[in-house]
């Protein structure tokens, strides 16, 4: 828990509802815009992709790096964030 950011804790702490994609841990303005261009305008859409990949963090990291140009750290952080959210709420 100490290694996670505030953003991470905020996201994982409650149902995501209609939160924007930039609320995901690791996704900032630039990456957020790129994702929105591809149609991933809300956090739950990215969650959908995560679920399609069977909640496999490695696969999701690969996909995110390819789709948004995220680096390993950012993609890994987002994956971990989503995984923990799923563990809590899914």
């Amino acid at each position: 828990m100490s290694t996670t950011s505030q953003k991470h804790r905020d996201f994982v702490g409650e149902p995501m509802g209609d939160k924007p994609v930039t609320s995901l841990s690791g996704i900032g303005e630039t990456l957020g815009k790129k994702l929105e261009e591809q149609g991933f305008d809300k956090a739950f859409v990215v969650l959908g992709q995560f679920l399609l990949l069977k909640k496999d963090t490695e696969m999701f990291t690969e996909w995110l790096k390819d789709a948004s140009g995220a680096n390993s750290r950012q993609a890994g952080s987002c994956a971990q964030c989503l995984k923990e959210w799923c563990d809590a709420f899914l």
Partner: protein
């Protein structure tokens, strides 16, 4: 250069000379006599040298890339399973990722293990051939087999051969009828079958001569007729 001239000559015999400028392309010619296929495109190829350099990908990999994108979702799914890649549903958003994974997997192990199958088949054929032969030998007496082996070197045991003669014939026919089947199954075992037939012929000849000899020798206590 010579190629260009040839091309021009083939296209329009009359106007060949006017086009012999060193770097002239055929585009300036009128389109009247458009011969299907040949001339213009081939001349272009001869003329143009500055083709954009292609990336040095392996031709096999490039073919696979093209093939992968043409495959259906089901086929991709099967391929992924073959390479042992766990995957979710193949949808628009996930397809590209799985294609990449397949490419990586293909590069690491390019050849599918399909060549083993033929090898296996040959082994199967051998096995079936052997099983056909064995029961026949057991059909006659088990002793018969041993005695047959002894027949060839030992010409002295007439008593044995007398009882064997009639029985051998029947066994031989049985052998023949079944021995044909494995030959037909595997055409490559022809020589083995011929060897078997030769052996049987030799044995039959030996039995026949023994029979004749015994007929001429009425000393034998056993009945021969």
């Amino acid at each position: 250069m010579s190629g260009l001239v040839e091309c021009a000559a083939n296209a329009l015999p009359g106007k060949a000379e006017s086009l012999l400028g060193p770097n002239h392309v055929h585009l300036q010619r009128p389109l009247q006599e458009k011969e299907p296929g040949r001339t213009r495109t081939t001349c272009h190829k001869l003329q143009l040298r500055s083709v954009a350099p292609r990336r040095a990908t392996f031709p096999r990999l490039r073919f696979r890339k093209m093939a992968l994108s043409e495959k259906s979702n089901d086929e991709l799914s099967k391929l992924l399973a073959e390479f042992g890649i766990k995957h979710g549903p193949i949808v628009d958003s996930t397809r590209k990722l799985y294609e990449k994974k397949l490419e990586k997997a293909m590069m690491e192990s390019p050849v599918k293990p399909s060549s083993d199958k033929t090898f296996y088949r040959e082994e199967e054929e051998e096995i079936t051939y052997i099983t056909y032969r064995n029961p026949i030998r057991h059909e006659g007496c088990a002793e018969m087999v041993k005695r047959r082996v002894h027949d060839e070197p030992d010409g002295n045991k007439y008593s044995d051969q007398v009882t064997e003669a009639p029985v051998q014939f029947t066994n031989r026919t049985a052998n023949h009828s079944v021995a044909h089947k494995p030959v037909r199954k595997s055409g490559s075992r022809v020589w083995k079958a011929i060897r078997v037939l030769l052996l049987l012929a030799v044995l039959a000849a030996g039995a026949y001569y023994a029979y004749i000899y015994l007929l001429n020798n009425p000393d034998n206590p056993f009945r021969i007729q």
